[in-house]
């Protein structure tokens, strides 16, 4: 199969969906003239015009709110957040408006829009440009939250998100944009709400998503050398969460570890642990292990950032401790 980058995969999804439906458009900061600060929109304005690939003022609140309003008036907008860290600026528009309109108004109107949010650690970007804040949004009823780990899912999930009539938050890790991987040439969709067992194993289930899932695959390789067979589950969607796939996997392996780049406290791992404690405790032969970032803002200096970062080694060590 051909290989393209994560960034090219998202661009293809945009091109295909914008060609198919003239009501799909995107707006955000630095996306038309600049092509996106990570190059993820390069060429898009040439193909679709600056009306459908709109450079906005630096106003996340107006970007998000205007996308909600445009969705209510018949469009299918995509809002680009520049950095996921800026979602706090338009939090009201996300959780009080976008997420609630369909339910609060009794299902009269859908809000078919996507919020694209580049997140995660890259190049020592420090406390306000490096965060992984996905767990905040799995706490909000009405939102769907997807978070791909590779180019194929990046394309498949973005296409599914654009076609979904619900508001979808799409986290894309900044360090993944340059990652290459196989992506089918024919049209395909990655289903929202469906996790994937990427690597089968028999001793422990390791659940993750986004860039960190790739660290988990590396950790699994290290652990094979120690005789530990790891089953790697890529969540792909964190809300609605695919608990069936997790429960099925631990029924087989009897052990569960969860790893993510976000801080451990109150993270996605906490929710999965709680689900398994409620619905799958009898499957387990050992306590659940969570690997997440320490409870601090993201630090700047290299040694500090390295100490903060969840790495394949840290994941492998944590899992060794389960045996």
């Amino acid at each position: 199969m051909r290989e393209i980058t994560f960034s090219q995969a998202t661009l293809e999804a945009m091109q295909e969906e914008m060609s198919r439906d003239s009501n799909v458009f995107i707006m955000g900061e630095d996306i038309a003239r600049q092509g996106g600060i990570f190059g993820q929109f390069k060429g898009l304005p040439d193909q679709f015009g600056s009306d459908r690939v709109k450079d906005t003022p630096i106003t996340e609140t107006a970007i998000l709110g205007a996308c909600v309003g445009a969705a209510l008036a018949g469009m299918r907008p995509i809002a680009d957040m520049h950095f996921a860290d800026f979602m706090g600026v338009c939090m009201d528009e996300i959780y009080n408006q976008m997420a609630k309109i369909h339910y609060m108004f009794g299902g009269q109107k859908t809000v078919p829009m996507v919020l694209r949010a580049p997140d995660g650690l890259i190049n020592q970007a420090a406390a306000q440009h490096s965060q992984s804040i996905e767990s905040w949004f799995m706490h909000v009823p009405g939102l769907k939250v997807v978070i791909p780990s590779n180019p194929a899912d990046a394309k498949g999930l973005l296409k599914s998100a654009i076609r979904d009539d619900n508001p979808v938050v799409y986290f894309e890790h900044k360090s993944l944009f340059r990652m290459s991987g196989p992506v089918p040439e024919e049209e395909f969709f990655t289903p929202i709400g469906k996790a994937k067992v990427v690597k089968e194993g028999k001793d422990v289930t390791l659940v993750s998503y986004s860039l960190c899932f790739n660290h988990c695959l590396q950790a699994a390789e290290m652990l094979e050398k120690d005789g530990i067979s790891v089953e790697c589950v890529d969540l792909r969607t964190i809300s609605p969460i695919d608990k069936e796939t997790i429960l099925e996997s631990i029924a087989k392996t009897s052990r569960l570890a969860i790893a993510h780049e976000a801080v451990k406290q109150g993270g996605v791992g906490a929710e999965i642990s709680a689900i398994v404690a409620e619905e799958g405790i009898d499957y387990l032969d050992a306590p659940i292990t969570r690997v997440g970032a320490p409870f601090t803002p993201v630090p700047f200096a290299k040694p500090l950032e390295q100490a903060y970062r969840v790495t394949p080694e840290k994941i492998a060590n944590a899992i060794k401790g389960m045996f």
Binding site: T59, A62, G65, V68, G69, N96, G107, Q108, D165
Partner: protein, 334 residues
């Protein structure tokens, strides 16, 4: 650059108005008043739950503005949104049922007074977040422009909400992109329990229009003719692609911030004076009778019709079933 805001007076004579439009003005204003008066009674009697904010005293504003709109135009309203919703043409029964928390309401009992919406008439929803509507209305205006429609988008806000940062972001975007968005400030003097002048940098909110290079107009919000005429001019320009505008309607909130508000922050005399001297409905009645464009019998007939309609809506709401607990998860996702 746009000039300083203009103060526009109402017409010197109202003889030019069609009877139909005059009747529409009166019927809408009286309908809002009677609706709200009954909501207050029912709330105080314990029949309506939640929070309710009344539009009494501000009827001329919503009526004068909405009389220039079609069902394809959009409005974003506020927690004080019953009047706008009625003036936009929403069904009274479904509104009343929603306020009563009934299954037959616009939102199947999921919204309540602060979250009524009727998308069939372009009413995009009331917003419980003060200043939450600006950016949404801007987006609706953007959609109208992108789709090549002549329709416009109107956002209502109070003097209190005028201080939210969302106003700045939306006004700038609407102006930078020439979007058909009418920003309507209903300056009712009270930001919840605080006199707006004590917390606001300008006396006339319309002064701020200049900063966004959009026309600003100030009218007497209790004169339905003045509101109607000012809106008409602005809306015509907007439909021709001239971009956004800011209309400030000077009015007064006769009732408390919410039903049950002890109103310790102002005197009864202050409220009574406005009620006696500047009631928009009384002013309308006096004017049409003076200029002999309507007679008392015509006014009374309209009132009787409205009373019947509102009473029927109350009956419908009262007799409607509450939602079943099994409906809790309905409409969470499509």
């Amino acid at each position: 650059m746009c000039a300083k805001p203009v103060r526009k007076k109402g017409p010197s004579s109202i003889k030019k108005y069609d009877k139909e439009l005059l009747e529409h003005f009166y019927e809408t204003m009286v309908k809002i008043r009677y609706f709200e008066t009954n909501i207050e009674k029912k709330f105080l009697a314990g029949e309506i739950p939640g929070f309710v904010h009344l539009y009494i005293g501000e009827e001329a504003t919503g009526t004068g503005i909405m009389s220039n709109l079609t069902k394809n135009d959009y409005i974003e309203t506020t927690h004080r949104g019953h009047g706008h919703t009625i003036a936009k043409g929403a069904d009274l029964k479904k509104m009343m049922a929603e306020i009563f928390g009934k299954k037959t309401g616009f939102c199947k009992g999921k919204g309540g007074s602060m979250h009524i919406a009727d998308f069939s008439v372009g009413m995009l929803g009331a917003n419980g977040i003060v200043g939450g509507g600006y950016t949404l209305a801007t987006g609706a205006g953007l959609a109208c422009k992108m789709l090549g429609r002549k329709d416009i988008s109107v956002v209502f806000f109070g003097d209190g909400a005028s201080n939210r940062g969302t106003f700045h972001e939306a006004a700038n975007m609407a102006s930078a992109w020439d979007l058909p968005v009418l920003f309507v400030c209903e300056n009712n003097q009270w930001a919840s329990t605080t006199p707006y002048l004590t917390t606001t940098s300008v006396e006339d909110i319309a002064d701020r229009a200049q900063g966004y290079d959009m026309p600003g107009v100030i009218v007497d919000g209790n004169d339905v003719f003045a509101v109607y005429e000012a809106t008409k001019q602005l809306v015509e320009k907007m439909r021709n692609g001239e971009g956004p505008a800011l209309l400030e309607c000077k009015t007064y909130r006769i009732k408390g911030h919410f039903v049950g508000d002890p109103e310790k922050y102002r005197t009864k005399e202050e409220v009574q004076k406005v009620s006696d001297e500047n009631d928009p409905i009384v002013r309308f009645e006096q004017r049409v009778l003076e200029e002999k464009v309507m007679d008392r019998k015509e006014l009374d007939e309209i009132k009787d019709r409205v009373v019947k309609e509102v009473d029927e809506a109350i009956k419908f709401a009262t007799e409607s079933p509450e939602p079943d607990p099994s409906e809790l998860y309905q409409d969470l996702y499509v």
